[in-house]
C-alpha cells in the first residue's frame, strides 16, 4: 500500500517528466537548418585530401586558407579576403580585400603577408557619394607577370550604371595608366572573370539579357583591347567561371542554361574556339572549377546533399579521361582441348569500367562560392 505523500510525489514527478519530456521531444525534432560553418582549420579533410598534390588556396568568411598535405592552414585572418589567384611563377598570391563600399587587389606572400597594394579604389574621404568608390574583382596576372587583369567599374557614364569592364593595369601603375579591354553591355553588371591566355589575349565572361528579361552569361575571347572579340559559348548555355587546364588544351566552366542549376562542363580549346562540350557534373550546385597542376583531376566547390554550405570536392581525371582499354583477352586454345574436339573457350568481355565519381573532401565548412580556387604545384 502506497502512502498519500508518496503517491503525490510520484504524480508530481510523472507530470514533470511528461511536460518536460514533451518539450524536449519537440525541441529535439527541430531540423538543424542553420548550420554554422566551421573554420577549415577545425576540421579533418577526408583522406583523399592527402592525395591532392601541391597546395590549394580557398576563401571562407573573408579569410584565406591553404590545403596542403591533407591539412588546412590559415593564410589570412578574416578581413574581407577573397578570390585568390597565383602568380604564374607561383611565388606569391593575388587576392581581393573587400570593404563595404570598395575592394582592392593585393599581392600577398604565400604565407598571407601583404607585399603590396595594387589598386586604390576607396573614394575620397571628403566625397560622400557612394559612387565615388570602385570595385576590383577577379584579379589575374598575365603570363609574363607584367600586367594585372581584373574587373573594374570605372567612372560612371550614366547615373545608376555600375558595370564592370575588364581592365589591364601595368604592375605598379595607377588605374589612370590602365587600359580598358572590354565594352560591357549596359546595366548588366558588366564583364568579369578574365583569364589571360599563354599566347596573349584573354577569355572573359560577358552578361547579356534576352527578350524575356532574363540575364545570362557567355564566355568571350578577345586578343586586344576594345576589339570586338568573339563568343566562345552561346547565351543559352549560360557559362561562366572559365578555368584552363595546365596544358592549355581544355577549358572547364560552369554552365547554368538560364536555370537555377549549375553544371561542370569541359570542352577542348584550340586557342580560338571550343570543341564539343562534355558535362562532368550535373547533379550538384557546382562552382569554381580548378585544374590540378599535375593534371590529375579537377577540384570544385558544391554543397553536400540538397543544398547549403559549399564544400570542396575532387573529381579524379578518370571521370573524364578514362585510361585506354588494355589488350583484349584472347584465350589461346590448348592443344589438349583441340585434340579432344572441345569448343574453344570464348573470350570473356573486359569488365565495364567503374564510373569515377566526385569525392567530397570537406564537411561542415562553408567556402565562398564566388571565390576562385588557386592551386600551387
Amino acid at each position: 500500500m502506497i502512502g498519500k505523500p508518496a503517491a503525490t510525489a510520484a504524480l508530481v514527478i510523472t507530470m514533470l517528466l511528461s511536460g518536460v519530456g514533451t518539450y524536449i521531444y519537440e525541441a529535439a525534432h527541430q531540423t538543424e537548418l542553420r548550420k554554422v560553418a566551421k573554420a577549415p582549420t577545425k576540421i579533418a579533410p577526408a583522406p583523399p585530401a592527402y592525395l591532392l598534390s601541391g597546395t590549394l588556396y580557398l576563401a571562407q568568411g573573408g579569410a584565406l586558407y591553404s590545403l596542403g598535405g591533407g591539412v588546412f592552414k590559415s593564410v589570412t585572418p578574416a578581413g574581407g579576403w577573397t578570390q585568390p589567384s597565383l602568380l604564374p611563377n607561383s611565388s606569391s598570391l593575388l587576392a581581393v580585400k573587400r570593404d563595404q563600399s570598395y575592394s582592392n587587389v593585393y599581392q600577398l606572400g604565400l604565407d598571407g603577408s601583404v607585399q603590396s597594394q595594387l589598386t586604390n579604389n576607396a573614394g575620397s574621404r571628403f566625397n560622400s557619394d557612394p559612387g565615388a568608390n570602385h570595385w576590383s574583382f577577379y584579379p589575374r596576372f598575365s603570363p609574363d607577370e607584367k600586367t594585372l587583369y581584373m574587373s573594374y567599374d570605372s567612372a560612371k557614364q550614366l547615373d545608376y550604371e555600375v558595370d564592370s569592364a575588364i581592365w589591364g593595369l601595368p604592375i605598379g601603375a595607377t588605374i589612370n595608366q590602365g587600359r580598358r579591354w572590354t565594352s560591357p553591355n549596359q546595366y548588366t553588371g558588366g564583364d568579369v572573370q578574365p583569364l589571360p591566355l599563354p599566347g596573349g589575349g584573354l577569355i572573359y565572361v560577358k552578361y547579356d539579357e534576352d527578350t524575356d528579361g532574363k540575364m545570362a552569361s557567355e564566355l568571350w575571347l578577345t586578343t586586344r583591347p576594345l576589339s570586338a572579340g568573339k563568343a566562345l559559348t552561346t547565351f543559352d548555355e549560360d557559362c561562366s567561371q572559365p578555368a584552363l587546364s595546365p596544358d592549355g588544351t581544355m577549358l572547364a566552366m560552369i554552365c547554368s542554361r538560364k536555370q537555377q542549376q549549375s553544371q561542370l562542363v569541359i570542352a577542348p580549346f584550340d586557342g580560338s574556339s571550343l570543341g564539343d562540350r562534355r558535362v562532368l557534373v550535373s547533379d550538384q550546385w557546382v562552382a569554381q572549377p580548378a585544374w590540378s597542376p599535375d593534371g590529375a583531376g579537377i577540384a570544385y566547390l558544391a554543397p553536400a546533399g540538397s543544398g547549403g554550405l559549399f564544400q570542396l570536392w575532387w573529381l579524379p581525371k578518370g571521370a573524364y579521361a578514362p585510361p585506354p582499354p588494355g589488350p583484349s583477352p584472347s584465350p589461346t586454345p590448348t592443344a589438349s582441348a583441340a585434340r579432344k574436339g572441345k569448343p574453344t573457350p570464348k573470350p570473356t568481355a573486359a569488365p565495364a569500367p567503374v564510373p569515377v565519381k566526385p569525392v567530397q573532401i570537406t564537411t561542415d565548412v562553408g567556402f565562398d562560392a564566388t571565390s576562385s580556387i588557386a592551386w600551387h604545384a
Binding site: 511536460g19 519537440e26 527541430q30 537548418l33 542553420r34 549549375s262 547549403g308
Partner: protein, 339 residues
C-alpha cells in the same frame, strides 16, 4: 455492530479483494490524465512563440498545436487542393509609418498540388489600376490605404482571380526568414551592383545610401545578401522588372530550403519574425502545407511570369512614372494559370 451471516462475509471478503484493484485503476487513470495534461502543457510551452506570433500576425483563432500521440502527422500533400497566395513585400524601415507601407513586391503564386505545378506572376509595383479603396493609383498603394484586405481586393478585381491566402513580409522579416532557414542557394544571374542601395536596415539615417555588389554564379546567400540581391534595382536594365525575376528566384530557393522544415521548427521560425511577417494562414494550415513544399520537386513544373512588354507599357501619368496594363493581353494569361 454484528457482522452479517455467511453471505455477508463473502460480500465483505469480495469487496476487500476488489478494492485494491479499483484503487489501482483509478490511480493509473489519474496518473495518465495528469501525464497527458502535462504533455499538452509541455507542447503548449514549446509552441507558445508560434501561437503568440500567429495571434499578433493574423489575429485569427489558432488551432491547438501538434502534440505527439494526440494527433496524426500532417495530411499528405495530395489532400490539399489548388490554392492561390498573394505574397507582399514592403520597405518598412523608419522612413515609413508602419501602418501605411507600400508593397514594393507583389507576387501571385498558384499551387496545384495534384500536378505539382507552381506559377508565379510578379505584379509590377507601379501598375496603374483602380484601387479597391477608391480612385486610380499605383497598385503598391492599395496595402498602404487599406492593409491586406485592400491589396487582396485590388488584385482580385483587376486580375479577376481569387486569392486564398496572403503573406506579408517586411525587410527584416525576409532577412530573418532566410537566416532562420540557414541561408538560400541561388545561381545569381549576373553581377548585381548598385551604388545607391538604401542604407535603411539598422541605420541611424534611413535616408542614406550604400554600395552593394552581389557577385554572379552559384552561391549560398545569407538573409542580408539575399535581400540585397532581390531589392537592388538601380543597376538593372529592366529596373523593377529585373528584380522581380530575382525575387522569384529567391522565392524558389526559400521553398527549396522549406522542404527541410518540420512542424517542430515552426516555433523557432515564428519567434524570429517579431512582427515582420503577417499571414492569413494559421499554424494548422502551415502544418498542412509544409509537406507540400517537399513534394514539389520538379523544377520544370515551375512557371515564372513577369509582365514585361507587350503586357505593359511604361509611361508618365500625373508627372509620375507608371506601368500601364494591357488587360486584353494580361487577363487571358492570368485566366490560363490562375483559373
Amino acid at each position: 455492530m454484528p457482522r452479517g451471516g455467511s453471505s455477508g462475509n463473502r460480500r465483505a471478503r469480495a469487496s476487500a479483494r476488489r478494492r485494491p484493484k479499483v484503487r489501482w485503476v483509478s490511480t493509473f487513470t489519474l496518473f495518465a490524465v495528469a501525464a497527458l495534461m502535462a504533455s499538452m502543457s509541455g507542447a503548449l510551452a514549446f509552441f507558445l512563440p508560434a501561437v503568440m506570433t500567429a495571434f499578433a500576425s493574423t489575429g485569427q483563432a489558432v488551432t491547438p498545436p501538434f502534440v505527439p500521440g494526440l494527433s496524426s502527422p500532417s495530411p499528405v500533400a495530395a489532400q490539399v487542393g489548388p490554392f492561390t497566395v498573394l505574397l507582399l513585400g514592403s520597405d518598412d524601415d523608419q522612413k515609413f509609418d508602419p501602418a501605411h507601407v507600400l508593397t514594393q513586391s507583389m507576387i501571385l503564386v498558384r499551387v496545384v498540388p495534384a500536378t505539382q505545378q507552381v506559377t508565379m506572376l510578379s505584379i509590377p509595383r507601379d501598375l496603374w489600376v483602380p484601387l479597391s479603396t477608391g480612385g486610380t493609383a499605383k497598385i503598391d498603394g492599395a496595402y498602404s490605404y487599406g492593409g491586406p484586405a485592400a491589396a487582396i481586393a485590388t488584385v482580385e478585381r483587376n486580375f479577376n482571380v481569387h486569392v486564398d491566402e496572403y503573406v506579408w513580409v517586411g525587410l527584416k522579416g525576409l532577412i530573418r526568414l532566410i537566416d532562420a532557414l540557414g541561408g538560400v542557394d541561388v545561381v545569381a544571374s549576373n553581377p548585381v551592383t548598385d551604388d545607391y542601395y538604401p542604407r535603411d536596415i539598422d541605420s541611424n539615417n534611413p535616408y542614406g545610401y550604400m554600395r552593394v555588389a552581389v557577385l554572379p554564379g552559384p552561391q549560398h546567400l545569407d538573409g542580408t545578401n539575399a535581400l540585397q540581391y532581390v531589392r537592388s534595382r538601380h543597376g538593372d536594365l529592366e529596373g523593377d522588372f529585373g528584380r522581380s525575376q530575382r525575387q522569384q528566384q529567391v522565392l524558389l530557393a526559400i521553398r527549396e530550403r522549406a522542404k527541410h522544415i518540420t512542424v517542430a521548427d515552426v516555433p523557432a521560425l515564428a519567434a524570429t519574425f517579431n512582427g515582420e511577417l503577417k499571414t492569413s494562414m494559421g499554424i494548422a494550415r502551415i502544418q498542412q502545407l509544409l509537406p507540400l513544399a517537399a513534394a514539389l520537386t520538379n523544377p520544370d513544373a515551375v512557371r515564372q511570369i513577369v509582365l514585361l512588354a507587350p503586357y505593359t507599357t511604361i509611361t508618365d501619368v500625373d508627372n509620375q512614372s507608371v506601368v500601364l496594363p494591357h488587360w486584353n493581353l494580361i487577363l487571358p494569361l492570368v485566366h490560363q494559370y490562375f483559373p
